[in-house]
Subunit: 367 residues, 2 copies
């Protein structure tokens, strides 16, 4: 399947009635006037970014926004998952209030998943809701976290435990920002790209296998296609189940094990995408042990995860620690852990599993 | 108009499509099985209350809930508006997580407006949303804050600045709980009852004038009618404008001045209802100065506020301090304060006003 070139901006629509919005995907969008037209009007905007992204891209975004907002404020958060907490969230509220921002103020989340999740939750909560725009600058955020309206912060006892479903007014994915991404973060984003294959689209899995080296080399056409197809699949799922009452949970493939790795090691030790990559390997092992997929499929996806530069062996936290961490996962019900498994290649489901089987998975996949 | 007796439980419906719910009003509802049937199913419930209310009513509520939930947890917050902050909100999240509460857990807000606002925001945010039930035990919460889905906490720089629109699954108003209310808090609740007259219903204002002494004496039939009619008016307004894009703002009559009093003196110094009572006097003075109502009407409502046991003279914070506090009100836009004024008796509107006129109001109404 030939991938389109990145020079042509593309749009993916998230259809959610009056909360519908577009994802714009293309090279150079930060400085492209068309990307910033037609957003909610206000006297002021606030760009929320972090110490890593601000020196690279904040000036370009602010320049584009100056045409639309009388004042463009900025708040720069410390970088990293370990800062995805109340204290850092409050920096956004402090900035909004000290600058006298009213309830029409538009927030722009410029950065990766952590910035997007925090700016989104701040937008959901400030004066009970102001508009916001996602401007993801990492592959992970472009293909997953900036799309669909999940916002949250972490609690010491669990990841993303405090948050809101709150849709952005637009998502603008400037593919050029991926050029400055550290290799480890590019791989972390590829974990969420790979995810869409086993859960929803085997043709896409074939395409990723054929193009994973081009993706690791950051070939623009390959990245453009990966971002667009990932957003299309996510748009379809979110359009059917905005608040995760059913289907949407399949997007958490690899995340139950992954969240346990992140929490067990301390947030920020592994990148979220690294934990998800390894978590998918574990979830595939579980799916095979439950008799849903064969060993060849497990090996195939595991090999692809490894080729993307991701870990396929989890840290040895001890099986009981994994189990207790997974019991506070948001999908758990009445103390029972619920896993996203692959029912058959291209289709996922949510299931519980006997603790003994989970222990066998952990024995296979951690060291 | 004869008021119904409190022995007959009454229902008021909040019509908001799939988010519709009932307000149940009656004596003895805490222990009435019918009040607790048909709520969302879950293995666990969490009663959120405070140090004042817990010893009075928590056991009775928990007993009623035990029939429906396997486990009924409880978290007791410190009492008072000065605790309506992040730190106290986190006590709810800590309790939910340490008890392993999943995303079906139902929260019950047992207490006044502060407990309801905080438990409601915790419910809106925990795992991105769990169901909650309002069980208001103060007159103010029964006639106003528990109805309509406004939840929030305060920020040092402004009241209710961080929150969500999040509707409860039900509101249960047990009129018996008003028997233990301190007189100052009863008066504070009457401020919000009186409010509904000038903004929406002159017949109700007539009724309050005729019954204010009975209300202060807590005659059950009078309280029952006051709560029911207040909820009916609020239901009608909220049903038309859930997220306060227009009409709903009239419910903030007295609140712009009132919030400035609360913030200027420090939260908790005056009760919210006391500040609203005095704020209504100020807003009426402003309405008269803008040529909207006559002095007789201003005097009439001011006298009623005084008869309810509420302050009608504001603290002397200085006009500039009032103005700067009011500029961070949520209704302000582009730095311009927006006041709820009485356009004519029984009808309110939102307007800005020249600073000089506001200074004249403050000169009249503060000392």
């Amino acid at each position: 399947m030939p991938a389109p070139t990145s020079a042509v901006p593309q749009q993916v629509r998230i259809a959610l009635g009056e909360r519908s919005y577009d994802i714009q995907i293309g090279a150079g969008l930060l400085g492209a006037p068309a990307a910033w037209q037609g957003l909610p009007a206000a006297t002021a905007a606030l760009v929320v970014t972090n110490t890593t992204v601000a020196p690279l891209y904040a000036a370009r975004l602010r320049e584009s926004l100056t045409a639309h907002y009388g004042t463009v404020h900025e708040v720069v958060l410390p970088d990293g998952e370990e800062h995805k907490d109340w204290q850092t969230l409050n920096l956004i509220f402090d900035a909004l209030l000290s600058k006298g921002c009213d309830r029409k103020t538009v927030l722009f989340a410029l950065g990766g998943g952590v910035v997007g999740d925090m700016a989104g939750f701040a937008a959901a909560s400030y004066m009970r809701g102001v508009p916001f725009v996602q401007v993801p600058t990492t592959l992970l955020a472009q293909v997953d976290s900036s799309v669909g309206g999940k916002t949250a912060i972490n609690h010491p006892q669990g990841k993303n435990m405090i948050g809101a479903f709150y849709q952005p007014a637009r998502v603008v994915c400037d593919l050029d920002t991926l050029k400055t991404l550290p290799p480890r973060e590019l791989s972390a984003g590829l974990a969420e790209v790979i995810k869409y294959g086993p859960i929803a689209d085997m043709d896409f899995l074939d395409w990723i296998e054929a193009n994973v080296d081009a993706l690791v080399r950051r070939e623009p056409a390959a990245l453009a296609h990966a971002v667009k197809r990932s957003c299309e699949i996510k748009a379809e799922v979110v359009g059917q189940d905005e608040r995760e009452s059913g289907l949407r949970a399949i997007l958490n493939f690899g995340h139950t094990f992954g969240h346990a790795i992140e929490a067990g090691l301390g947030y920020g030790e592994w990148l979220h995408g690294e934990a998800v990559g390894c978590g998918m390997v574990m979830a595939l092992n579980l799916s095979r042990r439950l008799g849903l997929v064969d060993e060849a499929f497990e090996r195939r996806v595991t090999a692809l995860v490894a080729r993307a530069g991701l870990p396929i062996v989890g840290p040895d936290l001890g099986a009981e620690r994994y189990l207790s961490l997974m019991r506070v996962d948001k999908k758990a019900e009445a103390g029972q852990i619920r896993f996203v498994v692959i029912e058959r290649p291209g289709q996922a489901a949510v299931r519980s599993a006997p603790d003994d089987v989970v222990r066998a998975v952990l024995a296979d996949c951690t060291r």
